[in-house]
Subunit: 278 residues, 2 copies
C-alpha cells in the first residue's frame, strides 16, 4: 500500500486523516494530514496545500487553525505535510531553526543535508502526484503557509508557473537571503554562494515576476519576528516594483501565533476558493 | 495583584489571556484562560465556563475548539480553568485518571487528596467571584465541558440552582458512580461510602430534578469510551423519568476528540447565547 492510514476522525461531516508513506524525494518515511470535505464523497475536489513553520509537524495546523469548518463549506480538501524529513537516520541539529522541523522547503546541496532534505521537490512534485493518484481530488491546487511555510508557499507558487491557482501566506519569511533564520539555513543547506539562495527568496522572485498569480499575505504588526526576521517590507517593495498586484495586509495587534492564523484563515480560504473554482 | 497575567494574544479582534492566581479553595497557584470578545471593551458581557477532560489544562480548549470565533460574534466571554490543582506539593498518582489533571470537579474528603482537591468549590464559587470582580463580565453565566468536564458542568449546574442560565456537554461522564473512571476517582477522593458519590452523579441529580435549566448534550457514536465509561443511556433515562426536557443527541461517526467538539461548538455557543441574553 502506497499510503498507510494512521488515523481518521470525523470533522465537520468530513474526514481528517493522517497518512504515512515512503518518499523517494527525501528517501524515508513521511507523514501528512488531509482534510476531505463532505463533497469529496461524491466528486473530486480542489486542494489547498498548507506549509507549516519552524518546529511544526502536520498536527499544528490540523488542530489549531480552525480551517476545516470553512473547507467543509467550500468543498476544498486540505493537505498538510510535515516540515522536514524525520528519523534517526536523518541529519539534525540541536537548534530549533535547522535540521528536523526546519527544512525550509529547499533542495539541499550540502552535506550532511543533501541526502534527505529535498523538501522543495517533495512538496512541489512528489506529494501532489501522490495525493492526486490516491485521494478524491482534482488537479486544481492552491498553496498557503505560515512563517517558514509562508516562505515555502510563496517560493513554490512563484517558481512553479501554472501549477497553483493562487497563493497566500501568514507572517511569511519574505526575504530569507537577508534575515538571520534564512542566512543560517541557506548557508547550511545550499552553501555560502549567495547566488544559490535567490531561487528560494520570495522577494527576489516576485521582483523578477517570472510568474503571476493571485496572492494574499497577512502580517501581524505585534509579531515578535516582525520586521527583523520576516522583512515584509522587501516583499511590499518587490510587489510595487513588479506591479504584481499582491494584497499584502498589515494587521494591527496580531502576533506570530496560531491565534492570528485562526482569525484570518476563513478569508484566505474564501480567497483561494474564488480561484480554485473559477 | 490578585490576577497575574501570563500572556495575551489578539484573537478574532478580542483578547485571549492566560492568568495565574492564588486559590484559597485549593490552597495553591491556579491557572486559567479567558477569551474576552470585542464587545467586552465597551460593556460587561456574559460568561461561558468551559470544563476540560482528563489530562487537559486550560490550553486544550483554548487552542483546539475554535470557540472564540463564535464567542466574538455573540459577545460572550469564555473562562477556561485547569482540571485540578498542580505542583510538587499537591498529591498525585502515576495514572492519567487520578490526581493532577483529573480532579473530577469534586471536593475531596479523603487523604491525601482533601488538602488541595477542592475543585467543586473552586469552579462553582471562588473562580466566578474572582472573574466577576476583576474582568469585564456580568453575572450571567452558563457552563459546558467535555468528558470529565462534561460531568463537572452537569453536576455543578444541576446542584447550583439559579447560578447558571444553561448547561451543555460534549461526551460527558453521565453516571460516574457506575463506570470505572468514576468508581476509581470517587473511591479515592470521597471514600468507599457510595451514598457520598451521588451528589456528584449527573444521572442521579437529573432524575431527582432538584433544579431545572436548559440542557444540551452531544455524544459521538464512534466515541471509544461510549457507552461503557460515559453511560449516556443512564442520563437519557433520567431525563425521561424526570421530564427535564434536556436535548441529548447522538452524533453518528464522531469520536471523543476535539475534532468532535470543534464540529458542534458553534451550536452550543448559540444555544447558550439564547439563554444568556434573554
Amino acid at each position: 500500500m502506497t499510503l498507510i492510514q494512521l488515523s481518521e476522525h470525523k470533522l465537520f461531516a468530513g474526514r481528517q486523516i493522517k497518512y504515512q508513506h515512503h518518499s523517494d524525494s527525501v528517501k524515508g518515511v513521511m507523514h501528512f494530514s488531509v482534510y476531505l470535505p463532505p463533497a469529496a464523497e461524491k466528486q473530486k475536489v480542489p486542494v489547498l496545500y498548507w506549509l507549516s513553520g519552524l518546529t511544526c509537524t502536520d498536527e499544528n495546523f490540523s488542530v489549531k487553525a480552525g480551517a476545516q469548518r470553512v473547507a467543509a463549506e467550500l468543498g476544498i480538501a486540505l493537505v498538510i505535510p510535515d516540515t522536514s524529513p524525520r528519523g534517526e537516520h536523518v541529519a539534525d541539529d540541536a537548534a530549533y531553526d535547522l535540521g528536523q522541523g526546519a527544512g525550509f522547503y529547499v533542495n539541499a546541496t550540502q552535506e550532511p543535508w543533501a541526502a534527505h532534505y529535498q523538501m522543495y521537490h517533495y512538496i512541489s512534485s512528489e506529494l501532489p502526484a501522490l495525493v492526486e493518484a490516491h485521494l478524491p481530488v482534482s488537479a486544481a491546487k492552491a498553496i498557503s503557509g505560515h512563517s517558514m511555510g509562508g516562505h515555502g508557499a510563496l517560493v513554490i507558487a512563484l517558481r512553479e508557473a501554472g501549477a497553483y491557482r493562487s497563493v497566500s501566506a501568514f507572517s511569511p519569511i519574505c526575504q530569507p537571503s537577508e534575515c538571520d533564520w534564512g542566512k543560517k539555513a541557506f548557508t547550511a543547506y545550499l552553501g555560502k554562494e549567495q547566488s544559490q539562495w535567490l531561487q528560494y527568496d520570495a522577494s527576489f522572485l516576485l521582483a523578477q515576476k517570472q510568474n503571476s498569480l493571485p496572492m494574499l499575505i497577512d502580517q501581524g504588526e505585534a509579531d515578535q519576528f516582525y520586521p527583523s526576521q520576516l522583512r515584509t517590507e522587501s516583499l511590499i517593495e518587490a510587489n510595487q516594483r513588479s506591479q504584481s498586484g499582491a494584497q499584502i495586509r498589515l494587521q494591527a495587534g496580531y502576533d506570530h501565533s496560531y491565534f492570528f492564523i485562526s482569525s484570518f484563515i476563513e478569508e484566505h480560504l474564501r480567497f483561494h476558493a474564488r480561484h480554485l473554482k473559477g
